[in-house]
Symmetry: C2
Subunit: 352 residues, 2 copies
């Protein structure tokens, strides 16, 4: 059986789950490489994937015998088959954070399950730790992002609009990767003070500040990077803010390591910002993988201990409403003794 | 109060619902024009929208006094406030087809609701009948789609790839509308035999068949149109299939009217296809509005009676596996005595 399914089955045993219904297509793809519409059932003895005629061919081309997954066309699965899948299972798990209430009730009816139980993100937790192949894909997506950033620095000219710049990034990613991992943020001038700005028709000025938050996908895996940079010159009033963000981004990079508490990491940055009269208005970071935002989340709401081979972002930012903002973000891989930057674009003042 | 909220409140009364929690952002936007992250609560006496600081400004700029919606910043809503919202309500409805099982349990806890009940798509059903403003937006999206199709016919040249054509459609829509309403299908040659084909690097030949399924958005409302057309000439073996699809698409257009049964409409087309040795492998059509696929669905699984001012697609198709396919689709508005085509591109043989 493939190692991801095997790991999941071990976790299921420890939780006394004899069956599992996996409906979230991201989780199905993670466990099987199948990128289709369908449902994955882990029964006592078998791994079963049910899909429809549109995808059967694709699914067979992806799976090997080694996966030990039986594929059914949905039109060949009878009412009795559904009732038999989990017949001798006491507890069957489902994804309560993905499955709607209506589907939950349908599952109980269709599979005749006595005890359909919540699984508290069992697969999302497994996904936090990346294997070699996953890290390779994220690394590649990060490299392409560094290259795209280099390209875009030479592309930007005063007079261009934020939208034009975002379109060029999308064009570059379409040509060199599997496309955007999220809608690019290009925020210039006072727009840079909005952490979640959407590209507008504002034109780049001769002296300007620009924040770009960008990422792409490779084989289903994402990259995520932000840089704030300057056109013409770095205004004096921006320098102390930029330096403070950069100092914290660099320092925490040393502290992002196996065993570090996400709550403490966030607190450290927040304290330093507060000492200087600023606030940390959004999370310090988040996991990156098949989804651009996934567990673990680095904030003080949840306290998670970072582990080797987690891949997360480190993205402190300061925003002065109506004036400007600075954010510096890298995607990093956690190791036993620190972390490895997977995005490596320049972080000192960039002036174009 | 705005008429959409008033209509919904009347339906709630008839269903003995004293409260309603609306979480689906599409439904919130439909009822309020608010395009943000938040939750809309209809309590016994008030309409309440809870959002966060990022959206407060936008929300206030959208709403008027006439809407009678009270806006809260989520950070100002206390535990007690949540418990008070539905205090004297016996039945509070929620969207069981949108809300996850985890959220359902959270709602019960947070709002202290005794009876949180399923509402069987109460808002989606209301959304089936479009008002004047909604139809105006869909009409505009359909006009732009007709124009885009005219443009693309003169743009396509042998040697171009399906992807290039899809990119040009996206570029056109970005320039002239609020963007794509779904990922464009450009399927040429044998790819046209797949109803849900994704654009590939296949190059258009000197003699070729191309199916394009396309649509855009205007003020949140979608258009949807498909044409199958030809490069060089119409192969003789395609003509009978094309003629059969066109005949059925045109005939049913006369039958798409107030009172028509979606099941019977589907049956009629299926019977005629079967008489000629073919199958109807997908639904005959679907509602179009804020979502590209919405109620009513025109197939034989559900029997809905079409009503005046529903907007639906009429899209029969025949697919010969590994060879070619033909689909002709219009977006139409249902009236008392028939229907009005909102997309109006040529349906007789198009040869470029």
């Amino acid at each position: 059986m493939n190692p991801k399914l095997q790991w999941l089955r071990n976790t299921m045993s420890s939780l006394d789950l004899q069956g599992l219904i996996i409906s979230n297509p991201v989780n199905v793809r993670y466990l099987t490489n199948i990128n289709a519409e369908g449902i994955l059932l882990l029964t006592r003895k078998e791994n079963i994937y049910i899909t429809d005629s549109r995808y059967i061919e694709h699914v067979h081309s992806i799976l090997t015998l080694y996966d030990e997954i039986i594929v059914y066309d949905i039109k060949d699965v009878s009412k009795e088959d559904y009732e038999n899948f989990f017949m001798f299972c006491e507890n069957v798990g489902f994804e309560e954070n993905y499955v709607t209430y209506a589907k939950y009730k349908e599952y109980i009816r269709k599979y005749k399950i006595n005890s359909l139980v919540e699984t508290d993100n069992i697969i999302e937790k497994q996904r936090m730790i990346k294997d070699e192949e996953e890290i390779k894909n994220i690394k590649r997506a990060c490299e392409i992002t560094d290259n795209c950033f280099t390209h875009i620095l030479s592309y930007i000219k005063p007079g261009m609009t934020e939208k034009q710049i975002a379109d060029e990034i999308e064009r570059y990613y379409k040509e060199n990767s599997d496309g955007l991992s999220f809608e690019t943020i290009v925020a210039s001038g006072e727009n840079s003070s909005k952490p979640h700005a959407v590209p507008t028709d504002r034109k780049i000025q001769d002296v300007d500040i620009i924040t770009i938050d960008m990422g792409c996908k490779v084989n289903g895996y994402c990259s995520d990077m932000t840089r704030t940079f300057f056109v013409g010159e770095v205004p004096e009033y921006v320098k102390p803010v930029y330096d403070l963000v950069l100092k914290n981004q660099t320092q925490t990079t040393d502290d992002f390591k196996d065993g570090a508490s996400t709550r403490l990491l966030t607190k450290m940055v927040e304290n330093d910002f507060k000492l200087n009269g600023y606030d940390l208005v959004h999370a310090l970071g988040h996991g990156v993988g098949m989804e651009i935002h996934e567990a673990p989340y680095i904030n003080y709401k949840t306290d998670v201990s970072l582990k080797e081979n987690m891949v997360v972002t480190n993205e402190p930012g300061i925003y002065i409403p109506g004036k400007f903002g600075v954010r510096i973000e890298d995607t990093v891989q956690i190791t036993k003794f620190g972390c490895i930057n997977l995005t490596n674009s320049e972080k000192n003042y960039i002036i174009i």
